[in-house]
């Protein structure tokens, strides 16, 4: 069980790096979608006993929300607002990839020194969560377009979800469901804002928003 879980967390870490190195917005959105599906499958593997129907419902909701609903909304926004599909990096692709790799290595290396419970020490959940949060920050700070920043938020949220999996036994994804709801609403709102920015400025460059005056 732990072996399969660690492989899945490893896949999530790899997808983080793909998201950092990818040069096209559709690729970025699809990477985040695949990451969401992988994360949605994790509770089913973690649960040792009989399959709880609530847990199954949460897994289905996560896969549907992160893997289908949010990506299709983002891809629709990309299509409707006629956004150029190149990601415009503030921080180049090679530096972001190296930062992400360094962060992942540091997360794996430093987790040994954290006071974890014995059943969590053998899994990669905590390093995976730290690496995803860091990747989310790099995407948020290092990309110009609003849509890639949304993807940054999603990766950040995926990291929080991984932390939430540690508490699966006591609080079955209560916090996580709330965050997922927030993010879904956020994506709706950002989808509308993206459309507005595009209409007002003819571009999605968030740097232009700083020159707004009353």
């Amino acid at each position: 069980m732990t072996g399969l879980l660690n492989v899945l967390v490893g896949v999530v870490m790899g997808l983080n790096l793909v998201a950092l190195a990818g040069g096209r917005l559709p690729l970025l959105i699809r990477t985040v979608a695949v990451q969401g599906v992988v994360l949605g499958l994790m509770p089913l593997i973690l649960e040792h006993g009989a399959l709880d129907w609530k847990l199954a419902a949460v897994a289905v909701a996560t896969v549907a929300g992160k893997g289908l609903l949010i990506p299709s909304l983002l891809l629709r926004a990309l299509r409707v607002a006629r956004i150029d599909r190149e990601v415009e990096p503030l921080l180049g692709f090679v530096p972001s990839l190296l930062l992400g790799a360094l962060g992942t290595l540091a997360a794996v290396g430093l987790t040994e020194f954290l006071p974890l419970r014995p059943e969590h020490a053998a899994t990669l959940l905590v390093p995976g969560a730290l690496a995803s949060v860091l990747t989310g920050f790099i995407l948020l700070a290092g990309r110009v377009k609003a849509l890639s920043q949304v993807c940054g938020y999603l990766v950040l949220e995926n990291g929080i979800y991984l932390f939430g999996l540690l508490l699966l036994g006591s609080t079955p994804l209560l916090v996580e469901s709330g965050i997922l709801l927030d993010v879904t609403v956020g994506v709706f709102v950002i989808g509308i804002i993206v459309d507005r920015i595009q209409r007002t400025f003819d571009s999605l460059d968030t740097r232009r928003l700083t020159v707004l005056r009353e």
């Binding site: 790096l17 190195a21 040069g23 692709f93 090679v94 990839l97 190296l98 790799a101 794996v108």
Partner: protein, 302 residues
């Protein structure tokens, strides 16, 4: 089998079979494109033709123009002699021989670049500059991959570390070394062997002024280098040391064939990437090798 017979067999495999690989790659490319393509043995015919011809030497060039390809060929052949061929083994094996192999490959690259700069052609200088700057990143990936194998197997000899299983990080290491193979041998995502535009060539432009036997040495050396990296990749991924000799040899041959067909498919289906994207691709190869090292370190290497 006597020691001498074994040595002759190894030399025959390295030097005799190497020109088969570019022919196979071209055949796969032609097959994907629906063409008939050149014969698989085309490089042998080319080498025989070039060997009979005379060399044209520029009046500007120093003797380094002749030494460059010769030194490069010798260095690649020496690196191949140190690389174990599964159960056939290598000429010599000692602690840290892998470092010597990496340096021999670097020496071959230096000698090729030296020969390229001898005639003072601007195009050849550009090609040499690109070759060397790609190599900086590719070498980092190779060294990291070798380090991962060392940590995984706990051995310091090439034969020892390649005989062991690569462990759970084998897929990462294989992917990283495959990208390095494409970069080091100037295959498609990094360079197009069929291009005729001097401005974008990397390896082909470095040998524009070489002719006759010198060009034959360059082409043959490139084929041996391709076989070298294919053998390294297959042995790094498969635990050949744990299998009986016949199975291991068959697996090695099949693996090299799969890698060759893979290179051909990549070449047929992908376009070369823009120069500004090359560092990203090579950095990804390095990151893959770093993660293989991490897996070897965390996942209980000896």
């Amino acid at each position: 089998m006597s020691e001498i017979g074994l040595a002759l067999l190894r030399a025959a495999v390295w030097l005799g079979l190497a020109p088969l690989l570019p022919g196979l790659i071209n055949k796969v490319k032609a097959w994907v494109a629906g063409r008939c393509g050149p014969p698989v043995l085309q490089l042998y015919y080319d080498l025989a033709r070039l060997w009979r011809k005379g060399a044209v030497l520029s009046t500007l060039a120093s003797p380094g123009f002749v030494f460059g390809p010769a030194v490069a060929w010798l260095a690649v052949a020496a690196a191949a002699a140190l690389m174990p061929l599964g159960p056939l083994g290598a000429v010599a094996g000692f602690r840290g021989d892998v470092v010597l192999v990496i340096y021999l490959l670097a020496l071959a690259r230096f000698a090729t670049a030296w020969g390229a700069m001898e005639t003072g052609s601007a195009f050849e200088g550009m090609g040499a500059a690109r070759e060397v700057s790609f190599a900086v990143l590719a070498e980092a990936a190779v060294i990291t991959g070798v380090l991962a194998l060392c940590v995984q197997s706990g051995r310091l000899t090439l034969a020892g570390m390649l005989g062991e299983s690569a462990g759970p990080g084998a897929a990462l290491l294989g992917a990283g070394l495959f990208i390095v193979l494409l970069a080091e041998n100037c295959r498609v995502p990094f360079d197009d062997p069929n291009t005729h535009l001097e401005l974008t060539m990397v390896h082909e432009v470095m040998v524009l002024d070489h002719s006759g036997p010198l060009l034959a040495a360059v082409l043959h050396g490139a084929a041996v280098k391709l076989l070298f990296f294919a053998v390294l990749l297959v042995q790094a991924v498969l635990p050949l040391g744990h299998w009986p000799a016949g199975t291991a040899l068959a697996a090695l041959a099949a693996g090299v064939l799969v890698v060759t067909v893979g290179v051909g498919l990549v070449e047929a289906l992908l376009a070369r990437v823009a120069f500004r994207r090359v560092p990203l691709l090579l950095t990804s190869a390095w990151v893959l090798c770093v993660f293989a090292l991490l897996v070897a370190w965390k996942g209980g290497g000896r």
